[in-house]
């Protein structure tokens, strides 16, 4: 019975996969091409300008991109589960206003930060409950929340700028604007969140279930995955990343204004999509979110350094979003 040529042993069957070589596997990833584009832009800018590859500019670039990247990780999780979160920009300002108001009133940093994160998590909880248990589409719920949470921030702050942060003033500014071993603090926070999330995606049942829900929600329901609680957790996670970004942004800017985070959700969604998150669900990576955010920031920064009017920024970013997704589509057609 051993003569059949197609009899493969168990081990080889397990080892086999449709991706034959590691190289072709990497080449098939959208992240790889986006990363390549970012690296090329990086090299070109270093050669073309005297200002790009300076320590000061790179410090600014990395810190600016960290905020979007942190939130893009949360957004990628939501998108991977088949949803969208339009309320992240509003969660940023809510978190910022809460920490600002608390610290101004004399509360210590850690308590104020907890309150800010709590406010953001509450936004995510409400989003999640309405989406998972009431069944309202995520686009609608988070669109409503975008308006609601920002309005709440206006009410809380009475639309006044906050720039006095009480006894822990220096702690907050140090957190957002300082550096550790030469790395801006927001980047360190980004690296921690990215590492933890990457492990969650790949190695936990939660991660498997998030991607299963995004891939085929009814299959997830039928196989007994707790779809509703997981959906709630996904929106809470997204809001949490926005809350963290909000606190860090206050520390960096040294003040809270109520227009903070305005239309930031678009940059965050753009970063996630450029990084390979599929808006129809089931796909997305942490590395993609970070690299997508990096590419957006490099484009933004390069336009400024090259002396091109900032009015063109939107055009370039919009162009890249469509280009990247079209590129992916073309690959699928082939």
């Amino acid at each position: 019975m051993t003569g059949t040529p197609d009899s493969t042993s168990l081990e080889t069957a397990i080892a086999q996969s449709q991706h034959t070589s590691p190289l072709s596997r990497v080449m098939a990833l959208q992240v790889f091409w986006v990363f390549l584009a970012a690296v090329l832009a990086f090299i070109a800018l270093t050669l073309l300008t005297d200002t790009f590859a300076t320590e000061r500019n790179l410090f600014n670039v990395t810190r600016n991109f960290a905020f979007v990247a942190i939130m893009a990780i949360g957004m990628t999780t939501v998108i991977a589960s088949g949803g969208i979160d339009l309320s992240v920009g509003a969660s940023v300002v809510l978190s910022a206003v809460v920490i600002g108001v608390c610290m101004e009133s004399g509360l210590p940093f850690w308590l104020s930060a907890l309150a800010a994160l709590g406010a953001a998590l509450l936004v995510g909880l409400v989003n999640g409950l309405l989406i998972a248990f009431v069944g309202i589409p995520s686009f609608v719920v988070t669109l409503g929340m975008m308006s609601f949470a920002r309005s709440l921030a206006l009410v809380l702050s009475n639309n006044k700028m906050i720039y006095e942060f009480g006894p822990d003033h220096a702690v907050l500014l140090g957190l957002g604007g300082g550096r550790l071993f030469g790395i801006p603090n927001p980047v360190i926070v980004l690296l921690v969140i990215a590492a933890v999330t990457a492990v969650l995606y790949r190695w936990t049942r939660w991660g498997q279930h998030v991607f299963a829900i995004g891939g085929n929600e009814s299959a997830a329901v039928m196989t007994g995955i707790p779809v509703r609680p997981i959906k709630v957790s996904v929106y809470m996670f997204s809001a949490f990343t926005a809350g963290v970004a909000g606190i860090l942004m206050v520390g960096w800017l040294g003040s809270v204004t109520t227009n903070l985070g305005t239309s930031m959700e678009l940059a965050v969604i753009a970063a996630a999509v450029i990084g390979g998150a599929n808006l129809s669900g089931g796909e997305g990576t942490v590395a993609g979110a970070v690299i997508g955010a990096l590419l957006i920031e490099v484009i933004r920064n390069s336009l400024i350094l090259l002396g091109i009017s900032t009015f063109w920024q939107g055009a370039f970013i919009g162009f890249f979003i469509v280009l990247v997704v079209a590129f992916d589509r073309l690959k699928a057609l082939r």
Partner: protein, 251 residues
């Protein structure tokens, strides 16, 4: 003793009577073809056996023991597995992940419980081997043929040594060659002593693989026959109502 015995199963949805007084026996290792026109009550019957609905009247016995299923999980624990018509697969995940969907294997890594992909792949590969399917555990379901997708969905039912497998239209919408593959899969399940209820519209497939054929019409069981004792013409007549009813001597 019958593996699965349905006695006087009825189901109403308000004033609508979806099933009335259906009694059926299924032996171990027997393949029963369940036929009927759209709306005849096939899906309702399957959903009752699978624990999606409780019957309004009647009893379900598994190996002589009376069962009351409140949720699909209850039926699954008792040994009843379902292969859904749309297969309930996630295209974006691998074959192994799909087989274990919702029942992922984990191992501890320090304080964490992490997904044990290696164990899942090994186990999935072993199941595919017993099904003599060439499906590879690492392949994404997105890139699979209809037959391979069926194999993944069927492999999922074999995780827990089931007693009864319900299959809803497994051969609809796949190519001729893949139909042959799926019918082979059904025979392999039968050879392992698993009882199978095959719901299908495709007369040739039912006649190729089923030991017995039952026909539902307007919620009532109108025929229960051994396959050799009947013909596609007779079954068609029973489905449409041209023939009133037919019950074989087998009980």
């Amino acid at each position: 003793m019958a593996r699965l015995r349905l006695t006087g199963i009825s189901k109403h949805f308000g004033a609508i009577r979806a099933l009335s007084d259906v009694s059926l026996d299924l032996m171990a290792g027997e393949v029963l073809g369940l036929m009927g026109d759209n709306g005849a009550g096939k899906s309702t019957l399957v959903k009752i056996i699978a624990g999606n609905f409780a019957p309004s009247h009647g009893t379900i016995e598994l190996d002589g023991e009376r069962c009351a299923f409140h949720r699909p999980r209850d039926a699954q624990r008792a040994g009843i597995e379902v292969v859904y018509q749309d297969l309930a697969l996630c295209d974006n995940l691998t074959a192994a992940s799909n087989v274990f969907l919702g029942r992922e294997l984990t191992r501890s890594l320090g304080p964490l419980r992490i997904v044990d992909y290696a164990a899942m792949r090994t186990r999935a590969a072993a199941i595919f081997a017993t099904l003599k399917s060439e499906t590879r555990p690492r392949d994404l379901v997105r890139r699979m043929s209809g037959g391979q997708r069926q194999a993944v969905a069927i492999a999922r039912t074999l995780l827990a040594e089931p007693k009864v497998v319900l299959m809803d239209e497994p051969t609809a919408a796949i190519s001729v060659r893949q139909v042959a593959e799926v019918l082979d899969l059904i025979r392999r399940l039968r050879d392992r002593g698993i009882s199978i209820v095959l719901i299908s519209h495709r007369m040739p497939d039912v006649f190729a693989v089923c030991d017995r054929i039952a026909v539902l019409r307007r919620g009532a069981l109108v025929a229960d026959m051994r396959t050799p004792d009947t013909s596609p013409e007779q079954v068609t007549g029973l489905i449409t109502g041209a023939i009133e009813s037919s019950f074989g001597r087998a009980a």
